[in-house]
C-alpha cells in the first residue's frame, strides 16, 4: 500500500527498508555479542574470586548479551529512519496508510517478543538466585536458600558508625578490625549493626548485605581464589559513610587457621570484655552521654547488649557543664 506512493521522489523503486534494517541489525549483533562475551566478559566486575562474584559476573555478561542486540537494534533503526526519512532529503510526504496507525502483526510480535525476553530474564534470574544460595545477597535472619556445603565458616560483620568489625564465633568469638577468610570455603556472613543501617559490600567477594540494628542478615559465598578484598559501606550512614571502608584478605586455609588461632589467643583478654556472642545485639538507643529517650522508658529485651545501660553518671556530668 505504501509503496505506490514511495517511488515518486526519484523514480527508482523503493528499497526494501525493513530487510535492510534487519540485515544490519543481525550483522551488528553477531559482531558485538561474541566480541563482548569473549573479550570484555572475563574482565567484567566483580571478578571471579568467589562463587557469588563469578555468578554475578556471569549473570552480568548474559544480561549484556541480551541487552546489546536491543541497544544496537534501536540505534540502527533510529539512525536508519532518521537518515532515510529526514525532511532535508526532500522525499515525499508520508501518506496515511492502514498500517500507519497500528499494525496488529507488528504489535503482537513486539509484545510477544518483549514478554518472552522478560520472562526468560525472570526465570534466569530466579535460577541464578536460588541455586547459588542467594547469590551473595543478604537473605535476612532465616535464609531460605542455603549452601550445600557441610562446612560453613560463620563470620559476623558488625557495622557501627563508622567502621566494620568482624567476629569469629567458631574461634572464641574474638572481634577483629580486619576481615580474613580462608580459601575454598563456604562463608556465611552474618551482618548486623549497632546503630543505624549500614551495608556490608565486599566488592571482590560479590557479597552485599544491609546491616540493620537488631537483625541478623545472612549472606553466603564460597571463596575460590586468594587475594585482597575491599569492604565498603554501601548505605548512607552519616558523616563518615564515605570513609567507612577497610580491607580484607582471602588466604589459604592453613594460613587462616594459623591467623585465627593466634589472633584468638592474642585478643583473649579483649574478647573477655565483649558481650557473649549472639547473632544480633540490642544496643541502647541512648548514647553514652545522656539520653535521647528518657531513662525511665521500658527496659530492653534479653538479647545480648552491646554497651551497658548505666549512663546516669554521664548524664549528670553533661548536665553540670
Amino acid at each position: 500500500m505504501s509503496r505506490q506512493h514511495a517511488s515518486t521522489a526519484n523514480g527508482a523503486s523503493e528499497p526494501r527498508h525493513a530487510r535492510r534494517v534487519v540485515a544490519m541489525w543481525l550483522v551488528a549483533s553477531a559482531i558485538v555479542d561474541p566480541l563482548f562475551y569473549f573479550v570484555a566478559g572475563p574482565h567484567m566486575p566483580p571478578g571471579d574470586m568467589t562463587s557469588s562474584a563469578a555468578g554475578a559476573q556471569f549473570d552480568f555478561n548474559v544480561l549484556t548479551m541480551a541487552a546489546l542486540p536491543v541497544i544496537v537494534g534501536v540505534w540502527i533503526y533510529g539512525a536508519y529512519t532518521l537518515l532515510t526519512w529526514r525532511a532535508g532529503r526532500g522525499g515525499p510526504d508520508p501518506v496515511m496508510t492502514p498500517t500507519s496507525r497500528s499494525n496488529i502483526r507488528i504489535q503482537t510480535a513486539w509484545i510477544g517478543t518483549t514478554t518472552v525476553v522478560v520472562l526468560s530474564a525472570f526465570v534466569f534470574g530466579t535460577v541464578e538466585l536460588v541455586v547459588p544460595a542467594g547469590a551473595g545477597g543478604g537473605e535476612g535472619p532465616q535464609p531460605i536458600w542455603t549452601p550445600t556445603s557441610k562446612t560453613v565458616l560463620p563470620v559476623q560483620v558488625i557495622g557501627q558508625q563508622w567502621k566494620f568489625t568482624y567476629r569469629y564465633p567458631t574461634y572464641g568469638g574474638f572481634e577483629s578490625d580486619k576481615l580474613v577468610i580462608p580459601n575454598d570455603t563456604t562463608i556465611a556472613f552474618h551482618v548486623t549493626s549497632l546503630d543505624v543501617i549500614h551495608d556490608f559490600w565486599a566488592y571482590q567477594l560479590g557479597v552485599k548485605a544491609d546491616a540493620n540494628p537488631g537483625t541478623d542478615n545472612v549472606a553466603f559465598t564460597t571463596t575460590r581464589a586468594v587475594g585482597k578484598v575491599t569492604v565498603r559501606c554501601d548505605e548512607l550512614c552519616g558523616i563518615w559513610h564515605g570513609a567507612m571502608y577497610n580491607y580484607g584478605e582471602v588466604v589459604p586455609k592453613a594460613q587462616f587457621q594459623q591467623w585465627a588461632t593466634s589472633t584468638e589467643a592474642s585478643l583473649a583478654s579483649a574478647t573477655k570484655l565483649l558481650p557473649p556472642f549472639a547473632w544480633s545485639y540490642t544496643p541502647s538507643a541512648n548514647g553514652a552521654g545522656g539520653s535521647f529517650y528518657p531513662d525511665n522508658v521500658d527496659a530492653f529485651s534479653k538479647t545480648e547488649v552491646y554497651g551497658a545501660g548505666a549512663v546516669s553518671a554521664k548524664t549528670a556530668a553533661s548536665k553540670s557543664s
Partner: protein, 220 residues
C-alpha cells in the same frame, strides 16, 4: 449545522454550554470526593501497615509490653460519637433526598458537634496515656493514629460545617423552587453533589474509626 438531526454531533449552543459545564462541575465533585476517600484510605492504609508490621516483628519484644493499652474510657466514647455522628448525618442525608432539608440541617449540626467533640477528645486522650510515646511499637502507632484521626475528624467536621452554612445562606435564594433539597438552581445542585460526597466521607471516617478501634482497643 443547526438543522442537523440529533444523531449528528454538533456544537453546543450557549444554553447547552452552561448545562454542560454545570454537569462537569457536578461530576468533578462526585469524582473528586471519591478520589479523596481513596487518598485518605492510603494514609490510613500506611498506618495499618505500620501497625501490623511492628506488631508482627515485635522487635526487642516491645510491641506492647505489660499489656498496656490506651485508655478505653476515652477511646470508646470517641469511636461511639464518630459512628453515631456519621449515621445521624447519613440519616439526615436520606431525609434530604426526600426533600426534608431541615431534618438534615438538624442532624448535620449535631454531627458536626459530635465530630468536633471527638476531635477534642482524641487530642485530650494524648495527655492521658499510661505510656511514654517511645516505649513500644504500640505506643508509637497509637500516637500516629491519634494525630491522623484528629485530622480526619476535623476535616470531616469542616466539610460538613461548610455545607450546613451554605444551606442556610442559600435557603432564601432557592426557596421558590424547593429549597436546597430540590432546587434546580446550579448552586443547589452543586451543593447536593458536595453533600453526597461529604456524607460518604464521614461514613468513611466512621469506618476508619471502627477499624482502628478494633486494632487499638479490642484486638490487643
Amino acid at each position: 449545522m443547526s438543522d442537523a438531526s440529533t444523531s449528528t454531533p454538533r456544537l453546543l449552543d450557549r444554553a447547552e454550554e452552561a448545562a454542560y459545564e454545570l454537569r462537569a462541575q457536578e461530576g468533578s465533585i462526585w469524582t473528586g470526593s471519591r478520589l479523596l476517600i481513596g487518598i485518605v484510605a492510603f494514609v490510613f492504609a500506611s498506618l495499618a501497615f505500620a501497625y501490623f508490621y511492628l506488631r508482627s516483628s515485635n522487635n526487642s519484644d516491645l510491641w506492647r509490653p505489660h499489656g498496656v493499652t490506651a485508655p478505653t474510657m476515652i477511646g470508646a466514647p470517641i469511636f461511639a460519637i464518630v459512628v453515631a455522628s456519621a449515621l445521624l448525618n447519613m440519616f439526615g442525608t436520606l431525609r434530604m433526598r426526600k426533600g426534608q432539608s431541615v431534618d438534615w440541617e438538624v442532624s448535620g449540626w449535631i454531627a458536626v458537634g459530635g465530630l468536633l467533640l471527638a476531635t477534642a477528645m482524641q487530642i485530650w486522650e494524648l495527655t492521658r496515656l499510661p505510656f511514654f510515646p517511645g516505649s513500644s511499637g504500640y505506643s508509637s502507632t497509637f500516637i500516629g493514629w491519634a494525630a491522623l484521626n484528629a485530622t480526619l475528624l476535623l476535616t470531616s467536621a469542616y466539610w460538613l460545617e461548610t455545607l450546613l452554612a451554605r444551606a442556610i445562606r442559600m435557603r432564601r435564594a432557592v426557596s421558590e423552587d424547593g429549597g436546597p433539597a430540590r432546587s434546580a438552581a446550579p448552586p443547589a445542585r452543586l451543593f447536593r453533589a458536595s453533600l453526597e460526597g461529604c456524607s460518604q466521607y464521614v461514613l468513611f471516617a466512621a469506618f476508619v474509626n471502627l477499624l482502628f478501634w478494633v486494632l487499638f482497643y479490642v484486638l490487643v
